[in-house]
């Protein structure tokens, strides 16, 4: 086996890009070429469009792609999670059927995990999957589903066994969204947006070949999906930013990104918009107020330290070293930053902090921050759960006492679901 070096990889991919890249290709056409060359997902197995390159060399490919301004494979939305999950747990037939089209962007995916009765307690899912005749029949409800309104497929976590303990009665499926048994409804938020959906299943159909992993082993598959979701959330990746340039392929990528990112357009406000703080303080004349300056300074100390902590974690990861505790703190820290930012924006805005829309500061942007920040400490793992995870997995403290893990799931107290 030839050992790749940074120089050889760089030379090879550069040569291939120079010979093949053309911004006038159609997006799907270009991506198929990229996939077939092995440069689209270079860290993937050779059997599945990859070159088995380590992460450090994958970054070299990324640099070369950026250098020439080439568009990459589809990485936005849940596609990335679907691809990563199927790569690990899928059958060859599933990989054959789903991987390429998720990389080209032809298929869109959504994640069907959370339910009204199971959020933090994800493994308490109660959407029912019953094997009848020779098909799986799905009944139940999922919530907080991004992109379901334009998705083709969903990654579905459902319960197949009520007599086994909780984690052992779950199975994982690929669900075709486009069928009469699946109804998608937008979910309105306190900040006025409806970025997520409720998804209702009434005798929805899943063919047996869409079961991922074994019956009753769905939790392990879901764990893979969640692990990849967590990895993308450190705030350093370029996810969600289309490549800049003129040409057909860029136009199509921009359109794809816009569609995917549409539900997230308020996320910067959810994060607190620390970038606006000094400007807002200056334009309101509050910058000279010593109390406001101190609060701004506290926020900037927190926000810069948070950024450096994420970089320390990333540096350890890049060097292939085991991550220290700094790698697990990102989500909890960013929640603190957002809350502090909301407080400081309020201090700066004064009475105007009561107004919204065109009457509000910055055409309602400040108001959007104030009513969006509460989501930050909840979505994607609450602060309380983060603290449990940090104390248990990073600090090795005793796990919470459990009463739900080792008896039949049907005997565990649950929320009433209508």
């Amino acid at each position: 086996m030839t050992e790749h070096t940074e120089a050889s990889v760089r030379a090879d991919v550069r040569a291939w890009l120079e010979a093949n890249w053309n911004p006038e290709f159609g997006l799907v056409e270009w991506r198929n070429m990229l996939i077939d060359s092995g440069w689209g997902v270079p860290s993937w197995p050779k059997a599945w469009f990859g070159r088995e390159l380590p992460m450090a060399l994958e970054m070299v490919v990324d640099e070369e792609m950026q250098r020439i301004g080439a568009v990459g494979v589809a990485k936005t939305g849940i596609r990335r999670l679907a691809a990563a999950t199927l790569l690990v747990h899928g059958t060859d037939a599933q990989k054959q059927r789903f991987l390429r089209r998720s990389l080209t962007g032809e298929d869109t995916w959504c994640q069907l995990f959370s339910e009204p009765g199971s959020g933090s307690d994800l493994a308490g899912a109660m959407t029912r999957a019953e094997f009848k005749g020779n098909r799986w029949v799905i009944n139940g409800q999922k919530v907080w589903t991004t992109s379901a309104h334009h998705a083709d497929f969903g990654l579905l976590l459902a319960r197949t066994d009520w007599d086994r303990p909780k984690h052992q009665g779950l199975s994982y499926f690929v669900l075709d969204i486009h069928q009469p048994g699946v109804t998608v409804q937008p979910l309105r938020q306190m900040n006025g947006h409806a970025s997520f959906n409720q998804v209702f299943f009434t005798d929805a159909d899943v063919p047996p070949e869409n079961l991922v992993g074994e019956v009753g082993r769905g939790w392990a598959v879901a764990t893979t999906t969640l692990m990849h979701e967590r990895r993308g959330a450190d705030g350093i990746s370029r996810w969600g930013r289309p490549t800049e340039g003129k040409g057909r392929v860029y136009d199509e990528e921009r359109a794809e990104t816009a569609t995917v990112m549409e539900p997230y357009k308020w996320y910067p406000q959810r994060a607190g918009r620390v970038d606006l703080i000094v400007q807002r303080a200056r334009e309101t004349g509050r910058f000279e107020d010593p109390v406001v300056r101190q609060e701004i300074a506290k926020l900037l100390c927190l926000s810069k330290s948070a950024e450096w902590t994420a970089r320390r974690a990333r540096a350890a990861q890049m060097q292939g070293r085991p991550q220290g505790p700094e790698g697990s703190l990102g989500k909890l820290i960013s929640s603190h930053v957002a809350r502090a930012a909301a407080r400081v924006h309020t201090l700066i805005s004064g009475a105007d902090a009561m107004l919204s829309g065109e009457d509000g500061a910055m055409d309602g942007l400040i108001a959007e921050i104030l009513v969006s920040v509460p989501a930050g400490s909840i979505a994607g793992g609450t602060d309380e759960i983060q603290r449990n995870i940090i104390s248990e997995r990073v600090l090795g403290m005793p796990k919470e006492p459990r009463t739900d893990n080792d008896r039949p799931f049907r005997d565990v107290p649950k929320n009433l679901v209508v």
Partner: protein
């Protein structure tokens, strides 16, 4: 800016940690803190003889090891962790930095080798009883007489000021104000006209002294009237050093709190199993890691000669001021009643956290300094 340490730096750290665990366990800290000097000649010789620590950041041309702010930060972090009782910060951080920043070539060659070797204990006398950390607080005067200068005034909060062999003093030309007319001087610890006494302090591991100058003969260090800029740079580098020392102590406390929670049983189980304890520990980890990131970033910026350094130094000091003390408060709390006793070691670090919170300027002061550096 580097976001990780090199293998050599990590190796250096672990050698140092083992050395300090052996040389500065809490029993030694308790013994030395009760002496008036607060440190021990034999131990000081070991520190310098075996590891050359006083020489770490001093350039090789002046008898030093020629390492930079990152290595110095590692040394200070480990010393903070061990609560080392030694005049290291006074001599090699404050005084040596002032000499490096302000001194002429000849003066650096005169003073630094003995500081680097540990033969001379030096300190920097800049603050006065008014407690200000900026140059507006300097009232001590330096009058030109004959071929030299005479100093009159009072310095306070001088680190190891009562035992130092050499004192670097910041004073002003009579009639000048703020950054104008400032000069640095060197004065011998036993100079006629200089009276010194150790102050009573909350933190016995960090001795402070009051120095009264009555017509004390002093030698000019560097250029007359031009000390404001080198002094400012010294304060910036000292803040970086102190922030790194503080995160070493904070991390030590955090770990001790975790160890105690895992050991202590109440209601039939380790108190570590209660969620309030788990969540508090997670919060402490966040506080300490954020403070470390800031301290390391500041040291790295100092090593790079980053134009942003003054802002980052103040950011690191402000963050450390709050994190170290808050961690100390949590650690006492987690220990319960026993954490409040003299015999438990927590108060030793708590008191260092308390004095460091304020030394070189508290969080409020440094946040304002940071805002000015960044936005003006």
């Amino acid at each position: 800016m580097q976001f990780s340490f090199t293998a050599e730096q990590e190796e250096f750290r672990s050698v140092l940690r083992r050395f300090l665990e052996e040389k500065s366990p809490p029993t030694v800290v308790r013994r030395l803190m009760q002496t008036e000097a607060g440190w021990d000649r034999a131990a000081w010789r070991d520190l310098n003889g075996q590891l050359g620590l006083s020489a770490v950041h001093i350039p090789e041309a002046y008898g030093g090891q020629g390492f930079g702010p990152v290595e110095l930060g590692i040394v200070l972090e480990e010393m903070g962790r061990a609560l080392l009782c030694a005049p290291y910060f006074a001599s090699t951080v404050l005084a040596a930095t002032a000499i490096l920043q302000a001194g002429t070539e000849a003066q650096k060659r005169d003073w630094l080798p003995d500081i680097a070797g540990g033969e001379t204990i030096a300190t920097l006398a800049f603050t006065e009883p008014n407690g200000r950390w900026d140059t507006a607080g300097i009232a001590t005067t330096a009058s030109a007489t004959g071929g030299g200068f005479r100093l009159n005034g009072t310095k306070s909060f001088v680190l190891d000021g009562h035992t130092a062999d050499l004192i670097v003093v910041l004073a002003r030309r009579p009639g000048s104000a703020d950054d104008d007319g400032l000069s640095l001087f060197t004065v011998s610890g036993d100079a006629p006209g200089l009276s010194r006494r150790a102050l009573k302090v909350i933190d016995p591991t960090r001795k402070l002294a009051r120095l009264e100058f009555h017509d004390v003969e002093a030698s000019l260090l560097g250029e007359a009237g031009a000390a404001a800029a080198p002094f400012a740079r010294t304060m910036v580098l000292a803040a970086v050093g102190l922030a790194n020392e503080m995160v070493g102590g904070a991390e030590r406390l955090r770990q001790s709190a975790l160890d105690y929670a895992n050991l202590r049983v109440q209601f039939g189980r380790a108190i570590a199993s209660f969620q309030s304890m788990k969540h508090k520990q997670a919060d402490m980890l966040v506080d300490v890691e954020l403070a470390k990131s800031a301290a390391y970033a500041a040291a790295s910026a100092a090593a790079d000669g980053d134009a942003d350094l003054p802002a980052l130094a103040s950011l690191a000091k402000a963050t450390a001021s709050e994190a170290y003390l808050q961690t100390a408060i949590h650690t006492i709390q987690i220990h319960g009643g026993i954490g409040f006793t003299w015999d438990n070691d927590t108060h030793l670090w708590f008191k260092r956290a308390k004095s460091s919170e304020v030394f070189l300027g508290d969080a409020t002061y440094h946040r304002e300094m940071m805002m000015r550096a960044w936005t003006e």
